[in-house]
């Protein structure tokens, strides 16, 4: 009755029509039907599982790369932290050095003669002697007998000079001696070291007034140390009845354990007797 071609065309039209009707019906009904819900319920767990698995793999993958980069970054940050710490330490050290040198410089301006700054490069190997090596020598104008001071007070005198280094005997050395005065009463004596961190003011007459806390300064009579430089503070005074002199113990003004730089006075000071 119908040709094969006509049947195909009619079937196509029917399919399109039914499809359009179905689309029209389903778009008006948003909620899933019972079958739809069943389908979703069936597929969803697999979808969830698959999504989870993919996500886990993806996360692991990214985390691995993240960890690698974090580890690398951590390494870099640790290195930067170490460098920063080192810089802070260097900075603090420079600040401290700067402060010390400023003190030394302002003290240098107050000195009666030109002076040169020197750094301590070594200490005496023996506990029995108190000498230090400094990094200035005869090429810098240093000579034997020149006094060395710091902003805190008298340090010692040069006892040996080489081209670029010198040996400095500290006033606490057992062989050291410096003519000194008690500032308050002008009582005179000789400061002698003990090779410990203390000195004695010898030859102070029993009649002289010396008390604990008095300041002891250089007298300038020894021709080595300029007059008026602080040597230390009296910490003990003892007088035995039969003696002619008092035992006066002094704590030096300079902390020799922490001493790092000194000023060497380049010209010997004139003795007070020659000053008019």
């Amino acid at each position: 009755m119908f040709s094969k071609k006509t049947v195909l065309i009619l079937a196509g039209i029917l399919l399109i029509t039914v499809n359009l009707i179905m689309l029209a019906v389903t778009t008006r009904r948003p909620a899933a039907s019972g079958l739809g819900r069943a389908m979703i319920a069936f597929v969803a767990p697999f979808q969830e599982l698959a999504t989870h698995a993919v996500k886990t793999v993806q996360d692991s993958w990214w985390r691995y790369f993240f960890l690698v980069s974090v580890a690398r970054e951590n390494q870099q940050l640790l290195q930067q932290l170490g460098e920063s710490r080192q810089k802070i330490i260097q900075q603090s050290e420079l600040e401290l050095e700067n402060q010390r040198l400023r003190e030394l410089l302002s003290f240098k301006r107050s000195l009666p003669a030109p002076a040169i700054a020197a750094e301590i490069i070594g200490k005496d190997p023996s506990a029995w002697f108190k000498t230090v090596l400094i990094d200035k020598g005869s090429t810098d104008g240093l000579r034997r007998g020149m006094p060395a001071v710091s902003a805190q007070g008298v340090v010692g005198q040069i006892i040996e000079v080489t081209g670029r280094q010198s040996r400095l005997m500290l006033i606490i050395d057992r062989n050291s001696g410096a003519d000194a005065l008690v500032q308050r009463t002008r009582a005179r004596g000789v400061v002698k070291g003990t090779s410990q961190n203390e000195c004695y003011l010898d030859y102070v007459l029993y009649a002289d007034d010396v008390r604990v806390g008095d300041l002891v300064v250089s007298s300038g009579y020894d021709g080595v140390y300029p007059k008026g430089l602080l040597i230390g503070t009296v910490t003990a005074v003892d007088f035995k009845g039969g003696d002619f002199f008092k035992d006066v113990q002094i704590t030096p003004a300079v902390d020799f354990d922490k001493l790092e730089e000194v000023l060497v006075i380049l010209e010997s000071p004139p003795t007070p007797a020659t000053v008019h």
């Binding site: 029995w128 006892i159 002698k192 003990t194 090779s195």
Partner: protein
């Protein structure tokens, strides 16, 4: 080669003694670090190479110290003689023996310094100061001594092995 090793070792000890240790505030009075070197030389090395180097070390220390020249030299040479004589009787390789010798050396050196400075009339000579120095230094020997003894023993074994290898030599090819 041996002199190079001795010089390096001696210089290292001298620098530690004069530059590094004084900066460590907690140390106080540390013993003479050259003493272990002298003990090693006296106990284990041949006289012709050990004695000149001991004298050299003494001269170096005397030049670095503010004391009268010859004080260190005297202490080292006497220590050398005593240890060399003792090494013929006792087994100096024993670590306890090395530490004991070191303690004796520290005590003897301080006694020598005290005696010389006391008799020369140089400044104050306080017995309590001398005792304090000796006690602190011996304390440090007790702490550090075992490590030094181990170092000395290792150095001795190493040098013995080396000398054995050089004296045995390669096998001869025959006539």
């Amino acid at each position: 080669m041996n002199y190079f090793i001795y010089t390096t070792c001696g210089l290292f000890m001298v620098i530690c003694q004069t530059t590094v240790i004084p900066r460590l505030a907690f140390v106080g009075y540390f013993f003479d670090l050259v003493l272990p070197v002298v003990i090693y030389l006296a106990a284990f090395r041949p006289l012709h190479e050990a004695l000149p180097f001991t004298v050299f070390l003494g001269a170096v220390m005397d030049n670095l110290s503010g004391g009268p020249f010859g004080l260190y030299l005297t202490s080292y040479v006497w220590l050398f003689i005593v240890v060399r004589a003792a090494a013929t009787i006792v087994r100096a390789e024993n670590p306890i023996m090395i530490v004991s010798i070191l303690i004796g050396a520290v005590a003897a050196q301080n006694a020598l310094f005290f005696a010389v400075l006391g008799t020369s009339g140089q400044g104050y000579s306080s017995e309590s100061f001398a005792v304090r120095i000796a006690i602190e230094q011996i304390g440090w020997v007790l702490l550090i001594g075992p490590f030094l003894a181990w170092g000395i023993r290792t150095a001795h074994r190493y040098s013995s092995q080396r000398s054995k290898k050089t004296t045995v030599g390669p096998p001869s090819d025959g006539p």
